[in-house]
Amino acid sequence: MASPKRRGRLSVRLLFWFLNLSLLPLGVVAFFLIGIAHESISKEILSTQQALAAGFADTVHKYVSTFKNVLMETAGIEEFSSMTAEKQQKFLNRIMQVHLAILELSVVSPTGTEMLRVGRFLRPDPEMRKFEKDEWFLAALKRGLFMGNLERFQGLYPTMTIAVPITDPKAPSAPVGVLMGKVSLNGLTQMLGMEFPSSGRSSAAVVAPDGFVIAHCNPKEVFRPEAKLNGELVNIITTQTDEKGGGPLMLTDGTRLFGAFAYIPDKNLDWAVFIQQPMDYAERTSTAMLKRTVYIVLFVVLCVSVVALFVSGYITQPVRALRDAADRIGKGQFEEVRDLLPLDVNHEVGELAEGFDAMSESLKEKTDELVQAKQKLEEFTHFLERRVDARTRELKAAQDELVKRERLAAIGQMASVVGHEIRNPLAVIQNSTYFIKTKLGGEVDPKIAKHIKIIESEIQQANGIISEILTYSRTRELQPETTSLNAFLEDLVGAYPFPPHITLQKKFDGADASVSIDHTEMRQAIRNIMGNSIEVMPTSGTLGMRTYLEGEWVVIEVSDTGPGMPPEILDKIFGAFFTTKARGTGLGLAVVKKVMDRHKGDVRVESALGKGTVFRLYVPVAKPA
């Protein structure tokens, strides 16, 4: 069955719309959520970075301030200005023992000549220097404090110089000298290292405006002779007007990062804390979110598909049932249609099913009517055919009968004429023979007597032949009489001239059926059979005669113990003019057949070569009047 256009299944279409309607908004929302998440992560990172930067700027400030205060307190105490050099040296040594970050301390006279020098790595009696033109010396004298002068101790470790004026509390406006200290800044790197471990994402640094790296979370970035921060970053930081800030950065080499800075809250210092973090972290996060979202969407697709399959299956089940029912009706199977219909469904499909049911019932009725009409038509056709067949057979039989009768009538007419015409000469010969015989009297030549006998015998023979032909061809009315068959046969057998070499065995049925027969003809028929039987047993033999009932028939059975007949001639023996004898009309058994036909009976023969022949005459049993 080639369907030109296969319609899609309703459930699949429903599934498609389910997916579209449920997943499209989900996708859009997910997209926006990812964007928002990306932004908020960026903001969060930035604000954290800024807070950290500001916090560390404070730390740096406190760290530096500690040493500044130590120096200021030392220089400001009453005794220090009046101490001897030796005492001052002892005092300074004690300070250095307490504060390990202080590498060197010097006492300079107001004229700039170094008066005392204490250092961790100094030889004994170190060289005294002149500082009257150094910036820090002048600044300390004029402004009361100097912080700065970054350099790398031994070319590696960042240090700074702090200088304060030494004053006499009694005359504070006239400094008596300058106390200068070189402070190691390695502590800051250690703190940054602890705050921003190398395994972390962020890195932090403290830089001077010229890019000098004061501290870095990674010591390798600090402890080298030319440790400088990326000029581009330094430029960005130094061009900022705010004390602190931050934002996404895109460097010329393509690096994208989040950067935050905070200046040290000390007017004497122009250092900045800078914290940076590669931007890919936020991207990785949003990518991970995206991945997770995709997984969720896929999972939802799966769940929705399953649910949609069930739901659409549930929704379309009645429709499919209707389709199955329609298929059944299409095949003419009305019996189980009602069981298939979703009649209990309480929506439009249920109404449709009810309509469908009504239609199915109506169709069934109409189909049944059609089938019945067809059956009746067929029966009627068969009836007509049978009638036509029967009528045809009747006509054929009637025609056969007519032909047979006409033929018999013609034969009879001819036989009558011929018989009559031959019987006259036979009668004349008979008369003349009788005359001669009488005239000759008793004294006659035995040969003449013999020939006279031959003539008389031949006349008898010829007359017998004529009689047979006339018997067969005559058209007389049947004159049936209801008779006791046994009595009829007893009479017949009793009157029959059996030759002495024949033994008769008779056995008549005890029921002694009544039959309606024409005595003359029936006698002739039975005598013909008996005559034949005796003729085939010329020397000795047994002639059997018995009767028995077989259904509505009584059978007269005549058997002989003669040579029997070959099967091929059994079919022919009842035909007219068929004979196996040297002399014979071939009418004896034809007469038998004719007589039995006229009695609505039948004759059958059974023969076995070397054993004998059995004739059975079937005569209808007379119905009691």
């Binding site: 009558s416 018989g419 009559h420 015409e421 031959i422 019987r423 006259n424 000469p425 036979l426 009668a427 004349v428 010969i429 008979q430 008369n431 003349s432 009788y434 005359f435 009488t438 005239k439 006349i459 007359n463 006339l470 018997t471 005559r474 007389r476 009315e477 004159q479």
Partner: protein, 125 residues
């Protein structure tokens, strides 16, 4: 010796007629012959035979016709019908009603015929 019985034989076959007559004359009957129905009736009227043996089938009429005519004239005369063919019971019955006494079928057993003739004739006496 009584006078011989007078017989009339009517048949169109001259040979049959003559041979039968001569046989019966041998048996002591006085035989007369006729070849047609008409001549037979004429002869019967003239001769008044004791018995008439006639063929049923004659050129000018039937034996039954003669039988009927003769029986009307005489109740005594023996009337014997000859035939070469089968007669149905109806025909025989009709013949007897017309007055026939006996039927004989050609060719006939002459001994039997003679005996039968004598029987019939002696009954009339």
């Amino acid at each position: 010796m009584p006078s011989p019985n007078k017989l009339l034989i009517i048949d169109d076959d001259a040979h049959l007629r003559e041979s039968l007559a001569e046989v019966l004359e041998l048996e002591g009957f006085e035989c007369h012959q006729a070849g047609t129905a008409q001549s037979g009736i004429d002869a019967a009227i003239k001769l008044s035979p004791d018995a008439v043996i006639m063929d049923i089938q004659l050129p000018d009429s039937s034996g039954f016709q003669i039988c009927s005519t003769l029986r009307k004239r005489s109740k005594e005369t023996i009337l014997i019908m000859m035939t070469g063919r089968f007669l149905s019971s109806e025909e025989k019955k009709q013949g007897f009603e017309l007055g026939a006494d006996e039927y004989i079928t050609k060719p006939f057993d002459l001994t039997e015929l003679t005996v039968r003739l004598r029987q019939l004739l002696s009954r009339n006496r």
